[in-house]
Amino acid sequence: MSPLWMVRRIGFYVLITMVLAFFAVPMLWLASAPFDSKPGLGLRWPDWTLRNVTATFDHPFTLSSLVNSLILCSVATVVTTVLAALAAYALSRVRMPGRDLLLYLLLLLSSVVTGTAAMVPIFVMMLQLGLINSQFGTALVIAGGMLPAAIFILKDFMDAVPRSYEESARVFGASPRQVLSHVVLPVARPGVATIFVWAFVNAWGNFLLPFLLLRDVGQQPAAVLLRTLYDEGGSANLRVIPVFSLLYSIPVVVLYLFVSKRYGFRFHGGIKS
């Protein structure tokens, strides 16, 4: 127990405490404001009440918007994860000309389309495809925007799966499909799970696309509803917003906890570039 060791130890804990505070303090609002009789944009010990909760549930679209969000994001997330996993696997294992260039180009284009400038093309295109007002169509657009990054990250996971596993499986006569589902996927599962959560979180927060592509508030997801909780003069409805923020955050947190408990939530084996 040298003094130096003590100093280091103390330093370590001070540092860790500061980091903890940095990440935790902003979140306290989510614990206090929803249950405060006079919620505001600031942190204080609440004057406990459940009236905000009742007010939020009395709002006609709270629950339906969360259900809409679940449908929309589930479709977008499943499509993204499945297609990205397939593509990433093939790109990782089969040599194709211009593969890396293609991936980079797509990654860059995805930043254009997720921006607002692309809304006219997307709107007109969806109209022509008859996909306005369709949850499914909207989910596909969202998935299209997320796919390049998902493939990019997953390909590195797939690269990290040792090929010797597959080779042995093939020696025992497994078909490529069997190799994928019984050998590769189990090993790459934490990566797939991570992408699943990442895609879900991204889709969950998307505002502009669902707003433009779905016609009515009754069909729109929670991300849009949260932006409608304002009065005619543009003042925020602070009675409903904190509770709704809390409700809106719960599904992503639950999904994360579930996935991390079940599959581990880390880039195990890593992005290996």
Binding site: V120, L127, V217, E232, G233
Partner: protein
């Protein structure tokens, strides 16, 4: 790989082909005798959210009543109501995309100020071109000035939904403490500044809130620059030209400098993202003396029961006064006092399948009964004189708006370039609040204006 490309190309061709044409406007009598009709009304209103009262009215009163009325005539009418309820810019984008692609609701509620832009883009058409005969006894009930909200280039495009007026609200409690009268009516800008100087002696009080900066958006233009500019004699758009760095504009910016450079207002608040809301809060907490706002402030902000910044003693504590011109007689049209007004308009989509029925629905929406019902027992300046005469009686503030303010008010020019001009004006006030001189800010404003509308359109 080749299959993919092939499919992609096919999709592209199909899309591009589909983008051309396919509009069904033209014959005004189309489907005039249909026995089964579907009409959609689109509004920036949502139950439980923005403009919830309007949304409830449409859903629970208008739709059942109108369907019933049509049924009596042997027509099965299905009325759909598309609720929105988000930021104005987002809503406008959505409506513009709808109209551009030949879709959208049959009746659309828009802000009157967008009318010109949509008209210039050919996205909406004059009412008589869309529905033919627009004769209606209701027009007699809508004052000429208010009708102007639905007009562009001398043509009528829609029916206004009511209007408002801007005044100076003041806190009588603070006024009493500062030794100012409770029936205060300034005659010039100097009177307002003098009152501000008296209020400044009270601790923790910001004497004047005149919206400034870009964070407040249109609230800066409508509740700040334009009422002040109207008090210098010339409106922002006059004789086909936008006002540049004129002496009047410099006076307005000078007024801002006196307020925010002279400690009569809070410059930081003007730059905060939630600044306007905060100003409401401060007013209700007796920390702001004088505030320029529309009657919305009285109806929905400091309203004792449901306001966003409730004042239990609103009726005794909040006073109001006309906005004075720079000095008596210096206002537009030689007026002593000025104001600005705005309001929503309902238009009929030129692509509607049922023009005749849409017009019928429009008349129903603007009937005396419907308009009165839309207020749900509250008071507000509606488009109809006969309704106003009944509902405004009990509310001294709104009676004041209707009797004293509306006769002297002005409307914004509903041109496509207006939003850009408005943004340039906001920027000029932001510059002054940030410490630049009015002359510098005016020069920068002129440059921005020339860039936005072209040299030839700047006066």
């Amino acid at each position: 790989m080749r299959r993919t490309t092939g499919f992609g190309l096919l999709a592209v061709c199909g899309l591009l082909a589909g983008c051309l044409g396919q509009s069904q406007e033209g014959d005004q009598a189309r489907n005039a005798d249909a026995k089964e009709i579907t009409l959609t009304i689109v509004a920036n209103a949502a139950e439980g959210g923005k403009n919830a009262r309007g949304a409830n009215w449409l859903r629970n009163w208008v739709i059942p009543k109108f369907t019933e009325q049509q049924k009596a005539k042997g027509v099965t009418a299905t009325i759909r109501f598309e609720q929105n309820g988000t930021g104005d810019e987002d809503y406008k984008t959505k409506v513009a995309l709808d109209l551009k692609t030949g879709g959208g609701g049959d009746i659309i509620e828009i802000d009157g100020i967008w009318l010109g832009e949509f008209a210039q883009a050919g996205q909406i058409k004059p009412l008589d071109e869309v529905v033919g005969d627009t004769g209606w006894d209701g027009w007699n009930q809508i004052p000429k000035a208010v009708q102007g909200l639905g007009e562009f280039d001398g043509k009528r495009y829609g029916v206004p939904m009511g209007t408002d007026g801007r005044v100076l609200f003041f806190n009588k409690k603070l006024f009493a403490q500062a030794g100012l009268p409770s029936d205060w009516q300034p005659k010039s800008w100097q009177d307002v500044l003098d009152a501000g100087a008296r209020l400044k002696t009270l601790p923790g009080v910001y004497p004047i809130q005149l919206n400034a900066g870009t964070a407040m958006g249109e609230a800066t233009t409508m509740q700040g620059v334009l009422p002040a500019l109207a008090g210098t004699g010339k409106p922002i758009y006059d004789n086909g030209k936008w006002q540049g760095d004129s002496p009047g504009l410099k006076d307005v910016l000078g007024l801002y400098q006196k307020i925010y450079g002279g400690g009569l207002g809070d410059p930081v608040l003007q730059q905060e993202a939630g600044g306007r809301q905060r100003s409401f809060q401060l007013f209700s907490e007796n920390k702001i003396g004088i505030l320029l706002e529309s009657d919305y402030f009285w109806r929905s902000v400091v309203e004792p029961k449901n306001g966003v910044a409730k004042m239990a003693d609103r009726d005794t504590a909040v006073g109001w006064a006309l906005v004075p011109a720079r000095q008596p007689g210096a206002g537009v049209g030689g007026q002593d006092f000025v104001s600005m007004s705005g309001g929503g308009v309902r238009v009929i989509n030129p692509n509607t399948k049922y023009p005749k029925q849409a017009w019928e629905f429009m008349k129903f929406l603007n009937s005396k009964e419907a308009v009165k019902e839309s207020l749900a027992g509250t008071a507000q300046t509606t488009q109809r004189q006969d309704v106003n005469d009944e509902v405004l009686k009990g509310d001294p503030m709104l009676t004041f708006i209707s009797e004293k303010v509306l006769p002297i008010t002005r409307y914004r020019p509903g041109l496509a370039n207006y939003p850009k001009v408005s943004a340039a004006l906001q920027q000029a006030t932001a510059d002054v609040v940030a410490g630049r001189s009015p002359d510098e800010a005016a020069r920068a404003y002129r440059e921005a204006l020339v860039k936005a509308v072209g040299e030839e359109n700047v006066g």
